[in-house]
Symmetry: C2
Subunit: 382 residues, 2 copies
Amino acid sequence: MGNVKNERMLDFIFTGSPSFSARAGILQTAHYTVKTPAFMPVGTGAAVKALTPDDLRDSGVEIIVANTYHLYLRPGHNIIKFLGGLHGFMNWNRAILTDSGGFQAYSLMNTRKITEDGIHFKSEIDGSEHMLTPELAMEIQSALGSDIAMVLDECLSYPATYEDTLRSQELTTRWAKRSKAFSGREDQSIFGIVQGGMFADLRKKSAGELVDIGFDGYAIGGLSVGEDRSKMLEIAEATVEFLPKDKIRYLMGVGKPEDIVDAVAFGIDIFDCVIPTRNARNGTLYTWNGSIAIKKSAYTRDERSLDESCKCYTCRNFSRAYLRHLWINQEPLSFRLNTIHNVYFYQELMREIRRSIEINKFDDFRKEFKNPIGGDEKCGQE
Amino acid sequence: MGNVKNERMLDFIFTGSPSFSARAGILQTAHYTVKTPAFMPVGTGAAVKALTPDDLRDSGVEIIVANTYHLYLRPGHNIIKFLGGLHGFMNWNRAILTDSGGFQAYSLMNTRKITEDGIHFKSEIDGSEHMLTPELAMEIQSALGSDIAMVLDECLSYPATYEDTLRSQELTTRWAKRSKAFSGREDQSIFGIVQGGMFADLRKKSAGELVDIGFDGYAIGGLSVGEDRSKMLEIAEATVEFLPKDKIRYLMGVGKPEDIVDAVAFGIDIFDCVIPTRNARNGTLYTWNGSIAIKKSAYTRDERSLDESCKCYTCRNFSRAYLRHLWINQEPLSFRLNTIHNVYFYQELMREIRRSIEINKFDDFRKEFKNPIGGDEKCGQE
């Protein structure tokens, strides 16, 4: 059993055997103790779309992701600070990880310009100009009061040359140093983000430099940006080898259920992705026998629940026929019931993964796991 | 105490003194016993927008309205019948009243043509042609299995001449006769709908003819169609005088809180309107000190709940500042939390009305009741 006490509020304790690649553990944050491997639903703007905090708790969610970039622009981090931080603001008493804005710089800020100092961008809301520096990203996250803050990183477009990737990776390291130097909240952990594109040697270089700086946990960024699935998994797996065993590992923006299962196999601990929530609104719903496009006319008279083994509120109370009707009518209730189900499905998947690791049966679980994915396949903005 | 046993499943028992105009009672339907005066949230397409059945029960809702016209077109009444009727389909085990489609003929069907036989219209969904007869309206409602069915009526445009109103009122009576003759479900009550426009003598004629046919309850239709508030109340009050004291009275499509209070005063028992739910989505929220437009910047840092005396889920858990943020971001959660509050507010209003009637203090309640309305002022389609 590994048991590593960090400088800040983050304890990570293995509950499964650490001699296997797949790890089960307990991540103690300032607000909540999170069982890993964990999946974090995305609550970009201080709300997981269509769900209340109670809906999240009922699904077993222990940690969510919120977004520095979005909350900085609206309503503003100082307003959230005044209102009790993100936990008080949205009335969520479990753990929160905040992303730094680096991924939004990559995916949203069309008018951005990246310099040594930071990311210059125009607000998509009112056109106002902003400069997101590593220090500002930490200041915002400090005001938000998340349990885990991410350093600002540069997330390159795909594909990128070796030269561009090297330049970007080195910038990310310098930004990581500045972030760590600026950070200050005792109750907030900080994760570094490994970059290095699709080049294994740059991933190694990035990981080594971040480990030298010293973070409470390590994320793998810059994946799921257009490369194919096998490349994503190959680079993530190669990166893990350069990360310390006793620190938490976070594969950002991943992913589909089978991606999660495969990444747990080589030692990833936490995940986030908009797929379950966005697919819910698109009407793509998960079952243990594959995914369902609820709009199909085949479900018009289908009295069964989405998944007969599922214990979520939606499956306990409503038929596929009713869910189809709500979706066809684009009823607001459709988004909520579908989201409850998909979020619950992902949490159940993580529970099954953890259980199988703890009884040393993860390899069997992985072999038997059927591909339940369909619909929207790319993680990204919620 | 009045205690009148009807031919079908509808018992209406006074719980307050029937010697006063304002009445409190208990309306026993096949699925649930409803305390009156009651307000019915509108669940047009087999869902009250953004709310689950549990949300409705938690607010104290005992009866909702669903819509024959919408459910006939989509998903189709026979599909709902196959899926256990409307109660089974939407998993709502309390009372349901179904409107007949007459009001939709007035407000939605632009391509309609009204003949002696019924209402000929084109589907707004696929352009298909349909003929809604009094018999079909009853057949649909029988398939839906609502606790209370409404007869098909003609709802005239406002203003209308005496001559047109007379013709229309007489057609409505003939349709009411056909509806009653066609009805058959033992567990479904039928209400007649008094028409007669803005002419008190035609209202009297209509009420008299319907009472001669004999219904389980009587609705006042054709109001809230553009006339001013005082006219609406004047005609409704005049109509009540021609209705039997021992039968339930339903003022259709009304209304604002102060309209409800005023109409209870002259003996109305049940109400429905889209105002609380539609206003919720528009960000107009009720408090006992007046209504709030939640988008206003004054609420940006407002830590208070919407109404400090309110016990709804929204007020127990979230600040005005958070609700404003959700609304500005048009988060799906905004619609749900706002709707929970407004539906709860209306139910609380009805609880206060009933309480005050039962202790003979309704007049005091009415005098003290502040006008909490703002925002969208007209009932209509959800």
